[in-house]
């Protein structure tokens, strides 16, 4: 269960959230809203990458700011820059080592990334970068998967792979997107954010 408790957050002198509280326990959640409504910031806070000005964010009753909780959270967002100086292979090795897990050959194949293993991350196209970002977010099979505009830049084949990943995924998935959640799942909660804060 992901919980935001009385969270306040400003971004570039603009109040995004003020005493914002939300409990998310559905397995699939779609967050939508106009540009600048705070979708990405909400995901970054949920992943413990941005500390709110006040309030608390927890997952399974543990603060997401705790380094140990990172093992149960995965995030793919364009704001999370992947180290561009690594090759794809090196990044996957480094990342899997950090989480003490192995790279899934299946998803490597589904996302057609095998041909780019020796390519520098900085040299990847937008679509391939997105696929790699999805791979790093899911590599350790986190209980909470946070995806920011996951279909951005993906070709048709990769979109099919993404939908397959979402429908097979056993953990909780929270997506911030303008597009509807295509994955076939019986219980999708839709959260609509408004500019200046709230639901």
């Amino acid at each position: 269960m992901l919980e935001f408790k009385e969270v306040s957050q400003q971004y570039q002198n603009r109040c995004l959230f003020s005493d914002f509280s939300l409990v998310i326990d559905e397995p699939r959640v779609l967050i939508s809203g106009p540009n600048g409504s705070g979708k990405t910031t909400l995901l970054l806070m949920a992943a413990g990458l941005v500390q709110p000005d006040s309030g608390e964010v927890s997952f399974k009753k543990h603060s997401v700011l705790n380094p140990d909780s990172k093992k149960s959270i995965g995030i793919s967002a364009s704001k999370v820059n992947l180290p561009g100086f690594f090759t794809v292979q090196e990044l996957l090795d480094f990342h899997s080592r950090q989480f003490n897990c192995s790279v899934s050959e299946k998803w490597l194949e589904q996302f057609s990334l095998q041909d780019y293993l020796n390519t520098k991350v900085a040299d990847l196209s937008l679509g391939n970068y997105k696929k790699l970002s999805l791979m790093t977010a899911t590599i350790h099979q986190p209980d909470l998967l946070l995806l920011d505009e996951p279909a951005n830049g993906l070709d048709d084949k990769a979109r099919v792979a993404l939908n397959l990943l979402l429908s097979e995924y056993s953990g909780q998935v929270v997506i911030a997107s303008h597009e509807a959640l295509a994955a076939d799942h019986h219980q999708v909660r839709h959260i609509q954010l408004q500019r200046n804060t709230s639901l």
Binding site: L44, L49, I73, I75, A77, V80, N81, E90
Partner: protein
Amino acid sequence: MNYWQFRLCLYHESLKQWLDSIRQMSLAIVALFPLALFALVFFPFLAWGVMAESETNNDVWIHTMWGYLLFVYSWMVMQRDGILGVKHSLYINSLAVSRSKKDWCELGLILYGANLLILGPLVIFLLLSKYGAGQVINLPFGYVIEKLAPATGLLLLCTYYCISAVKVRRLPFLSLLLLPLFIGSWAQELTKIQCLVLWCVAILIERIIPMPSIGIGTWLKGSYRLFFQADMASPRAEGLRLVALLLMLIMLRAMFNGVPIEVKSNVASFLSFTSALLMASSLFNTQALCRQYQYYLTSLPISKFKLQIVSISYVMLKALPGLILIAYLDIFETQHWVLWGLFYMASLLGILYLPKWFFTFPVISAVLVFICT
């Protein structure tokens, strides 16, 4: 605007960016050592006299030449992107300009960028040649050649390094690092012409044999690998740090040999201070890397504290080659090593806790040492 003006415009644009950094660095240097900037500005003028003179002691000549050429090479490497217009290379290539015109423009920019550093040796060579031409009737030909060789060698090597810094990606690891480092001990037994021939052979060898690559295989793991690969991907900062350390060692070593024994200790203390500051400044790079990939690194199950410890120990490991170089040149005694450790730790603490004014930490510790002793 013609093609030359366009390329000059691109060059000036790229200069603006790094001139700001140089200005900031110069302010820091002046704040720390008020006379250091004058020393740097006058270094080329002093060096020309030493290098063009055939009577100069070989050891001093080799080291001055090394320092000067290293300085010229680094200066040109820093301007490389601006001279070649790297940022706008696709647009430049799309223009209907002949290859030769492009090459002439780039040569013009190289001379423009090298400025006094290449014009000085050229003027000295022309003056000495004019003098040599007048003397060739009265004096033996071999004698005249011997007199002209240092100035000719300086001009040729200087021109070569200016062009190769911009046009050749391969680093002059043999001619600008290993050869001058090891030739010092037997420089007195060679003539200047032999030294120059040796230098040219080193250049030829390094053009044919590629620089030994520092492959890391798979043994380096975790966060150390992250920092190391980041350095390998953009080695400019570490390269400049190494060049600065080398220049410092070359200049101070030349001074070291010329001062009375009682002053030597002060020179070594000064070196311990400046080299510690320089080597510790590498922590700025790892800190910047952590900031650049802040979100990604935070998403990993590593605490900030652990990452900080790893980055500090990585910076310390990086200081080892510099320390080995100082030990090889045999400049420090025990107290200087202790001082180096003190200044190094103070600089690291400064960078961690007061990055904008980091040098106040080593300066305060230096003042305390001065008061106590």
